[in-house]
């Protein structure tokens, strides 16, 4: 079911946290709400599920205006960051609770619980209490409980934040699989860009209560609308380099890069160069000294202090004979240079 927010505004007392936000999530789509801490992700989520009243604007599920429908009557499943399982109930009772509230017959509830337990693969843990389950298993129970009513929309508030790195990887794939299998419309709140990029069809990147860009992960990575977006996406992060645009791009005191095609401006700008677009594989052109090497297993990160000022990061396959203090002369992939104005707007 399609979900549509129109001119959504939320204020807590005198503080307006979100102003006139528009957002449409297509039917069966998984959308990420990504942004730094305090930008209003959870606030948006809670407005959609009805915990917070909206100060202004409207919310539609499909064609139905649900702006003033109480939370109980909105068909929304929520997975909270700390799972919020009911500690005194077994996993089975937890998952079945929404149906119990709807006064479904016992046999029907048991059948549905079994179906969802199979979907999230916890069929053999149903008689345990939350305290007897691992973090990943609790997560699955929470997911099953959120989905048992067959809600129109599934909301996930940082569902992976409390899991260790390996489990996070596993649950990432798992949540995506379940979302695809059921074809449910879902919104994932996260401040982890890797999570957003790997799990979602589209990303809404938020900052200070506004959506600064809404795009597919690939396009947002390759074609960011601003310096903020470029800096937020990508791991290892992009390097920014102040430059002067003239005949060529002057970098620091002494070095130059050719002007990328299509760049019109003159004067002070900021270049964004991703690590994979700088290195020996891109030819030569920039001189500098290696000041930092960080092995990461398959790859290593290398920071280069450019002669005349500026630092660029490169990512190289492990085994490249680069040592701390080496002098290098590496090139930049010209077509992939991103240019921003000094205010951070994409040029």
């Amino acid at each position: 079911m399609e979900l549509r927010l129109e001119k959504f505004t939320k204020a807590f007392g005198p503080v307006t946290v979100i102003q006139d936000m528009d957002l449409t999530v297509g039917s069966g789509e998984m959308m990420a709400l990504l942004g730094p801490s305090g930008c209003g992700k959870s606030t948006t989520l809670f407005a959609i599920c009805g915990i917070h009243k909206m100060t202004g604007g409207r919310l539609y599920f499909g064609d139905r205006d649900v702006t003033s429908v109480p939370a109980q009557q909105r068909s929304v499943g929520v997975v909270f960051q700390n799972y919020a399982l009911y500690p005194h109930m077994t996993a089975e009772q937890n998952i079945g609770f929404p149906l119990k509230v709807m006064r479904q017959p016992k046999a029907e509830i048991a059948k549905e619980v079994q179906r969802l337990a199979d979907l999230v693969q916890i069929g053999d843990l149903l008689d345990r209490r939350p305290a007897q389950l691992s973090g990943g298993q609790q997560q699955r129970v929470a997911l099953a409980r959120a989905m048992i009513r067959k809600p129109d929309v599934l909301l996930l508030d940082e569902p992976l934040a409390n899991l260790d790195a390996k489990l996070r990887l596993e649950m990432r794939a798992e949540i995506r699989r379940i979302q695809r299998e059921t074809g449910i419309t879902a919104i994932l709140v996260t401040h982890d860009q890797v999570e957003a990029m790997s799990m979602c069809d589209r990303i809404a990147l938020m900052r200070d209560g506004k959506i600064v860009q809404l795009d597919t992960p690939e396009r947002m990575y390759a074609d960011p609308a601003s310096q903020f977006v470029a800096g937020f996406l990508g791991n290892p992060p992009i390097s920014f380099l102040p430059a002067r645009a003239g005949e060529q791009l002057a970098i620091g005191q002494s070095q130059v890069l050719p002007r990328p095609a299509g760049l019109e401006v003159q004067g002070d700008i900021v270049l964004g160069i991703r690590p994979e677009h700088f290195g020996p594989q891109h030819g030569q052109g920039l001189h500098g000294e290696v000041i930092f090497v960080e092995p990461q297993g398959r790859e290593e990160l290398v920071d280069v202090q450019l002669d005349g000022g500026g630092i660029l990061r490169a990512i190289l396959p492990t085994g490249d004979p680069v040592k701390l203090g080496d002098r290098v002369n590496w090139g930049v992939s010209g077509g992939n240079i991103l240019a921003f104005s000094t205010e951070g707007v994409r040029l």
Binding site: G77, N82, Y86, P87, H88, F97, P98, V101, R145, R149
Partner: protein, 275 residues
């Protein structure tokens, strides 16, 4: 129980200070069933006549012990029930609902709890008189419950504060009404507090002395504490053996309750009282 050497001095000090208490309790028990020679510490032969109050009236002017025990039980249990019921709802409201003047209310609770009851007694007396509740069990039940409430509300609020907010929100999302969420999802989390509060206010009612003494002096509303007081004040027959036996009888339920419910009572410290 694993005695490291360093613990022994502490045990010794504690032992020295608690010996008098232990001796007192010991003689309380012994003297209630023995007839020592006057002035002697060595117990004489077994003598159950001190316990005669159980099967006969001590003197004709007094109610039977069973009437008094029933009064005490009724007083203590009704008070405990009232306090727990009201604290359970009031604590929830204070912990979760955003009402105007909430901080002042909380501050007021603490002050009320610390307030010495005895200074209010005249005012309460006049109020009860006016209401026609003077010298009735109902009157002292209401007064006792009112005086216990601040403590109860504060304790329950502390327990509610430890229940994660998300649990309630999850319940609401699952379609349950606010009342059902409270009853079915939140209450089970604060059960330990409920049990502890019930027991503590029962015990407090059981041992209450001043309120019944002043506000319900008649013999038909006598409770065990005032009954004992009357027995000892009766200077014609100052019978210490009898007094001790009644004292034993009076404290047995308290001891039994403590033994059975130790764990629940400890919860009140474990559950925490956060501001």
């Amino acid at each position: 129980m694993t005695g490291t050497p360093r613990i022994w001095p502490l045990v010794l000090i504690l032992a020295i200070f608690s010996t008098p208490l232990v001796i007192m309790y010991l003689y309380q028990i012994i003297d209630s069933v023995a007839s020592p020679d006057p002035g002697s510490l060595i117990p004489g032969e077994l003598d159950l006549s001190n316990w005669r109050f159980l099967w006969e009236r001590i003197d004709s002017g007094r109610p039977t012990i069973w009437q008094v025990t029933f009064n005490t039980f009724l007083f203590a249990s009704t008070t405990a029930f009232l306090v727990t019921l009201l604290s359970t709802t009031a604590g929830y409201a204070l912990s979760r609902l955003n009402m105007p003047g909430r901080p002042y209310f909380l501050g007021g609770l603490i002050i009320l709890h610390a307030f010495p009851t005895i200074t209010l007694i005249i005012a309460i007396f006049i109020i009860l008189q006016a209401l026609g509740l003077f010298d009735t069990l109902l009157g002292i039940i209401l007064v006792k419950a009112a005086l216990e409430l601040p403590f109860g509300v504060w304790i329950m609020k502390g327990f509610y504060d430890t229940v994660p907010w998300e649990i309630e929100m999850a319940g609401v999302q699952d379609g349950a009404s606010r009342f059902r969420v409270w009853w079915e999802l939140v209450m089970p989390q604060v059960k330990p507090g409920l049990a502890a509060l019930l027991i503590i206010s029962f015990l407090s009612g059981w041992s209450e002395f001043v309120l019944p003494l002043v506000l319900a002096p008649g013999s038909s509303t006598q409770v065990l504490s005032t009954f004992m007081n009357a027995v000892i004040q009766d200077d014609a027959t100052a019978d210490f053996g009898l007094f001790k036996a009644i004292g034993m009888y009076y404290s047995i339920p308290v001891i039994v309750i403590y033994l059975i419910f130790q764990k629940q009572l400890m919860n009140i410290y474990g559950g925490g009282t956060k501001g």
